[in-house]
Amino acid sequence: MRKAAEVSTRRFSSIILIVIIVVLALSLAALYQAYELFVLNDPNMGYYLLIGIIGLALSTYMLFQTRRQIRKFTLKSPPIVTTIICPECNFKNIRNFERGDYILKELGQCTKCKGKMMISAIYREVKEKVKEEKVFT
């Protein structure tokens, strides 16, 4: 029941790509300048280093965004369980849901006491991902 599809989500224009490349080149130049000033023991080195790192981070991030053209979408369906019980001897059987199952459906004979088996529950178990808000309970 789990399906996945690949959908193209975004396309970047060539102008944006040029901008990214220019920013990248300038960042590298700033880093080089920072190195030169570091050799000369110039206190202005810090500014160039900061500008270079910020520019490099920004342009790299945007460049990776352009590479992320394929994104996976999924429609997940959680496992559904069916609980079958024998009301007479309380024999319990839990299995995966099958088409045609419904709550209070009478099934065949109980293997233990020959009583009538019945579907008593159909449900899915959810594991909460989000942390519960403990403060505002």
Partner: protein, 375 residues
Amino acid sequence: MIQLETLPAALFPGQDSLSWIFQVIFTLLFIVFVFYGQRIQMYIMVREIQGSLLRLKYIRDEGRKIAIATIKEIGKPEADPAERVNQFLEYITIPPESMDPAGVVWKLEHILDVRENRFKDEVKLMAPAADKTDINNLENTLEAAAALNLIYKVIRHFYILGKKTLSLYIIMQIQMILPLIMREAEAYASALKAFSYGQPIGDGAGALVAAKLMHGHRKRKIEKDCVVAKVPLESRTAYVIKAEGPGGNVGKPGEAIKRVVEENKGKISTIIMIDAQLKLEGEKPGEVVEGVGAAIGGPGIEQYKIEDSILKYKIPINAVAIKEDIGDAVSPMRKEIFDATEVAVGLVKRAIKEKTKEGDTVIIAGIGNSIGVGQ
């Protein structure tokens, strides 16, 4: 004070060409953000909507595929049902005019009846081999697919309109409610799978409570798609009502309650209604609460009928609500909600003992979609 000849140096400080370049870039960026800041913000929003729209399109297409596959599997049609499914997804229902509100409830009921009959006829034509339960489930599946189609089209409308008019406010209003819309769409996607497999859903919690109370007792059909059983409960006589299962169906519980009240000439000590209720964030799913009033959702027709008949005989009405969010309401029933039905049964019994005397007659109505719930 800065001299005029030193102004360029103040604006573009630094001795080397690199600092000039940076200063120019920062100045340009400043100017760009001053004049085009709003437009840049709008493009970011448009991109966000575009991403969600693609996801909605995928969900919509998957929904359509699931509906067609289920029809083919269950209905065994001779011809390909794809064309009919496409037409079904585009059906419209025009609500009655309410300028003169007198009688609008009955007009709306009539329109909804016509719609339901039309849907059922369409499903029968699409799936000739389907039995009554399958027809109800297929109708629900197609309705969920139609809801997804509508959500997709509305968001697409605002997306295109926003891009055409370049109006920040059109884009902004859709971008702001987008997370809620996506949650609803994902809930419908889960519902679609549940309906196609005939699995009980969270909304059926009320119907499940009634099913547990009436199980093992003689049932008879009453009004449209509802069943009633006369159950001895805590030394009282309880008429337990629910929509007929296990097919996807909500029935007309309002009409059924009205009929039972009339059959007993209004001699009903109390009515207890059990239904799923949308929870607020922070509340636990499966929390069971009590109250008064007609616990029933939908367009309001059934609620109107119940309130009308209890007013005539001054019958007290109590409510038991099982909390869940929109996603849980239309997805396969989660364990917490299933467990809550047992708690609700206990509360119903307690309410009967506390609010009525031995020998009294009560009505217990389990409201909700009876998909995957027998009786």
